[in-house]
Symmetry: C2
Subunit: 267 residues, 2 copies
């Protein structure tokens, strides 16, 4: 079991930002990533549809014998909250690790949360933050257009379109005086610089992919499931749309070319 | 058979702009609309995935006994070109009617085409235009962010974000001196005013939904399939995601409330 891979899935390719962090934290582990690119985006879909898709994604990873499952998707983590209890292996979404990091980070007790509409409407981050410190004030904003900006290459902090959309979505949070902002969608780290430029140095951004990777590493350690292997782990990627589409955009999220390690599956 | 409904499908709700035109042109016909909202958008998906989805969409309409099928989706019409020959009822996509209208419209022989990446990469509009007049010059531009703008309510011609994205995508077409622009995606009529404001009065916009409705009416007339009924036709709507999602956004495209006539199906 300890030699089995860590399974990680997302509605699309945004979860690759979490894979990048996971490789950094746990370089010896094998990783199997599944991106449901034929059905992305989940963020605008209904709760019942999101839950059905999340179960199918997890089942695919289990069929590959993974020892742990990470839902690297703010939407799934927020909406399919019952998934943890259905699975025969340890599981984490991105919400709990990220909420914990935000609570540790804030000095003034004012935390902002941004994500897809489904994530924000679920109130999941707010709930996990308040569970840990009921005096914290949480300010939420859904930013659905951020996902499209990233996927269509509008990512530079110097791009007027990026700057304007960031301003439109975040001006209220800025006025609310937050000192910590949860990037509650795995796409958002790609435009972190534009977000940070607008909010200024006084606001700490919390990257859900990074916090989830650190959390998963601790979970595996606690359960004595870390691999004893000392060589570099391998990453395998699976997508439900064609691999060509993956090749075109994976590098945006992962920062390196992985075109040889990707396969197509049909759910 | 003449009393059967006209079937019309789209990857999502954009095709409702075509329903609106169809009702105007053929007020006595019954219409069954299917929006594959659980799998929208098609425009960024691979060719094989788009073809598979289109077949399933058409099969659903056939199961409801329709006398004709309209693919009110630029992507399906451009990519799943073999669908016409597979179906037992008359079929039209949006490409042929729209290309014909553009050829009739142009004075200077310079036509622009905008659509999703799949539509533009397929070259379908260019091909149908050149079949009709090989001397016309066709200038293409994919505008993937337009779909997200519309779906997230960024539609006012006075919105700086809308204006900037329109300018970014269309400045080359403007410089190319087109006098006719095909709106090759059913979402785009919603931001027609912003597009028109930027390009100026000298450029005629061709609405694919409107042209396809006119074309379908002629096709039914030629085949003696128009309903003899003289009362108002009925519209039924089916979606693959929840009806709540449909209720929230259908009015943007259709210009009226249709919340009582919608049902959910699972493909």
């Amino acid at each position: 079991m300890n030699d089995s891979a860590i399974g990680i899935f997302d509605s699309g390719l945004g979860g690759l930002t979490a894979v990048k962090e996971l490789v950094r934290v746990l370089p010896h582990e094998n990783i199997i990533y599944f991106g449901d690119t034929a059905r992305v985006p989940y963020g605008s879909r209904s709760k019942s549809t999101i839950i059905r898709y999340a179960r199918q994604d997890a089942d695919f990873l289990l069929s590959r014998g993974v020892k742990m499952i990470i839902a690297a998707c703010g939407t799934v983590s927020s909406v399919a909250t019952g998934l943890k209890d259905e699975l025969p292996v340890p599981f984490t979404g991105v919400v709990v690790p990220t909420a914990e990091a935000a609570v540790r980070s804030t000095k003034n007790g004012r935390i902002g949360v941004i994500g897809t509409s489904a994530t924000v409407n679920s109130g999941s981050y707010r709930q996990e933050i308040l569970l840990r410190d009921s005096k914290i004030r949480v300010f939420q904003q859904d930013c659905p257009l951020f996902v499209s900006l990233v996927e269509n290459g509008f990512i530079s902090e110097k791009d007027d379109i990026v700057k304007l959309v960031v301003q439109r979505y975040l001006e209220k949070l800025k006025a609310d005086g937050i000192d910590t902002l949860i990037l509650g969608c795995t796409h958002f780290p790609i435009i972190a610089r534009a977000i940070s430029d607008y909010l200024g140095d006084g606001v700490t951004l919390i990257n859900s992919g990074k916090e989830t990777a650190l959390y998963a590493a601790q979970l595996l350690k606690d359960r004595h499931l870390l691999t004893p292997c000392q060589s570099d782990g391998e990453c395998r990627y699976f997508v439900s749309d064609t691999v060509e589409e993956f090749r075109r955009t994976a590098e945006i999220f992962l920062g390196r070319d992985v075109s040889t390690d990707v396969s197509h599956i049909t759910l």
